[in-house]
Symmetry: C2
Subunit: 343 residues, 2 copies
DNA sequence: CAAGGGAATGACAACGTCGACATTTTTGAT
DNA sequence: ATCAAAAATGTCGACGTTGTCATTCCCTTG
């Protein structure tokens, strides 16, 4: 393998000079620099990160740990965001997936340490504690899309589910909807509670009574094997005498079933029922006709900013635990229409 | 940082002996081994991959290059398959995304070489040539879910779109369907042609005439910004006098629109129209009611076997180009019903 | 008890890079 | 032309590991 030494030989200079050129250090004549650069090109030399790291004890590599995230299609954008930041800042990404198995997670931390990664991005779907294995070693860590259960041990960055759901609720209220259905997300998801809470509060602030609301559980159980009540719940909800004029869906995916339930009952969307989703999972929200009005989860930004944050945590060499929240943008499409105020 | 030297000191042996213990080499007394292992535990020693690599010029790391794959939610399973194989075989995964930009791809190859990765898994959605930048350097590479355009330069592993579509077509024919609609995938996708071809041939073998078929283009244009004709095409197709009794959808995602079109026209699924998808993108296929009969793309296996293959290519140190194909499993759900044969 | 042989252990160098420091060359002011 | 300061370049060692080869130890055999 061509090393710095061969380049030095070819260019007729010392290794150190080559090193200087590679790292853009000063104190090199323009002439020498060019000669070295030519030698580098000719020999196809590429610096050896391992050797570099062994000297500097900096690997310029971030680790990503995911649990089921890579299973849930929406959140690939988190990873894309991280990659984009890393790529444009000369960092590499080492990636591993726990599949939810604690023993595998322990292995992964070990593997990461063994690569002497500079920091970890811990990406999960759940509100959970980072494995002690992790906490012991003081690798800078930023949690993305989740938060440490044990108070504020680690920095975390999350979507603002509350704000997203509040905006969506207001959106419906402003358009005259007064009987609103709500089909709940699987309660094990961190967002479930936040969204429902936002819905309840916003609606109450506006003066609606509990009896104007139809709230149903859409799903429950472990990820990948959940019980699915959405279709049944939506059907039942829409057959009520005073059926809701609008339904908020826990997420976009569940909205598919609500659409089908409504259409099967012969209801038109949005004239007879308006529907809003959550996530802006475009595979779904754009496939539905009429296209789904929803709140976009800022997955890409979560990843991008998470990586950026991790980098600064590493630079400052102290982990300032705190929580950041990124807002969800309301995406206004065509699944909602206005309702005449009651005479 | 605690190194092999500190362990040796603590255990009162030479570094080499510690090295022997770590790598499970013979010629170490049980007694010594235990003493060393204790020292390792006490000090929390973790081997330094970079140093190891510098000696052995083996990084035990695979690189994954993706283009838009990580954007398309279905294919995250490829990555999961790779990770699972890697994890259970002591390999690490370095990951990068081109976003379709050739210049970034070049950078990524450089980054990979700089980490001296052992091999590359090239994962894309398209039928395309690997960048010359890649071909020059002789890093063992396996292509997943795509194939090199220039004949058989590199090993590739793909889903058997043809077989999947043939099985699905037969499935419909066996259930008495004789007028069948087909809504085509975006032609830039490798699978589009294969699936349509399989459909056409199977139907012809069976003796149907071209006039029994309604074939429409569902989407076209660049990924992420495609024109979407599915809903319109399905609506039009289902309004024909002799409307199809079954529709094959280019993929599951497009089936959403077909469902909605059918329901909006007051047709029942499957009694009035049967529908089949492709991919088994469970987020969709299980959300649709009735649940969608479809052909499961073997994404996980593609990744898992791709990694395994790459490993053997590395071991043999010669790249035997060839193509492997993994079959698609038909997933029989409830979106199809039998049709009485014409009297 | 000596010799021989294998098992256990150790000393040392080398991998590729860069930091600390040393040396040489150039520059500029006198 | 002289000399000091600055710039350019070089030497050397260390990072953590393991391969090569040497050394020490213990056991077997005669």
């Amino acid at each position: 393998m061509v090393s710095i030494v061969s380049v030095a030989k070819a260019a007729g200079v010392s290794n150190k000079t080559v090193s200087r050129v590679i790292n853009g250090e000063p104190h090199v004549t323009e002439d020498t620099r060019e000669r070295v650069e030519k030698a580098i090109r000719d020999l196809g030399y590429i610096p050896n990160m391992a050797a570099r790291q062994i000297r500097s004890s900096r690997s310029n590599t971030f680790g990503i740990i995911t649990d089921y995230v890579s299973t849930t299609p929406y959140s690939v954008d988190i990873v894309r965001g991280i990659q984009d930041w890393a790529n444009t800042h000369g960092k590499s990404i080492l990636m591993a997936n726990t599949g939810g198995l604690p023993e595998r997670e322990a292995e992964i931390w070990k593997m990461f340490q063994s690569h002497r990664i500079d920091g970890v991005l811990y990406v999960t779907m759940y509100h959970r504690v980072v494995d002690p294995e992790a906490g012991d070693v003081s690798i800078p860590t930023v949690m993305i899309n989740c938060r440490p259960q044990t108070s504020e041990l680690l920095p975390s960055i999350e979507p603002d589910d509350f704000q997203g759901a509040r905006d969506l609720t207001r959106y419906l209220l402003e358009r005259g909807h007064r009987r609103i259905g709500y089909i709940r997300l699987n309660p094990i998801l961190l967002g479930a509670e936040l969204r429902l809470d936002a819905f309840r509060r916003t609606v109450k602030e506006f003066g609606l009574a509990e009896s104007d609301l139809s709230i149903r559980l859409g799903m429950e159980g472990p990820v990948g094997a959940e019980e699915n009540y959405v279709f049944a719940a939506a059907t039942e909800m829409l057959q009520q005498k005073d059926r809701p004029t609008a339904i908020m869906s826990g997420n976009d995916e569940m909205a598919i079933q609500i659409y089908i339930a409504a259409l099967t009952l012969g209801l038109r969307i949005p004239q007879d029922v308006s529907i809003v989703g959550f996530d802006d999972f475009r595979t779904v929200s754009l496939a539905l006709k009429p296209e789904l009005t929803t709140a976009a989860l800022p997955y890409y930004d979560l990843g991008f900013q998470g990586a950026e944050w991790l980098n600064s945590v590493i630079a400052e060499e102290k982990v300032r635990a705190s929580r950041r929240v990124i807002s969800c943008k309301l995406v206004d499409r065509t699944s909602v229409c206005s309702v005449k105020p009651p005479e």
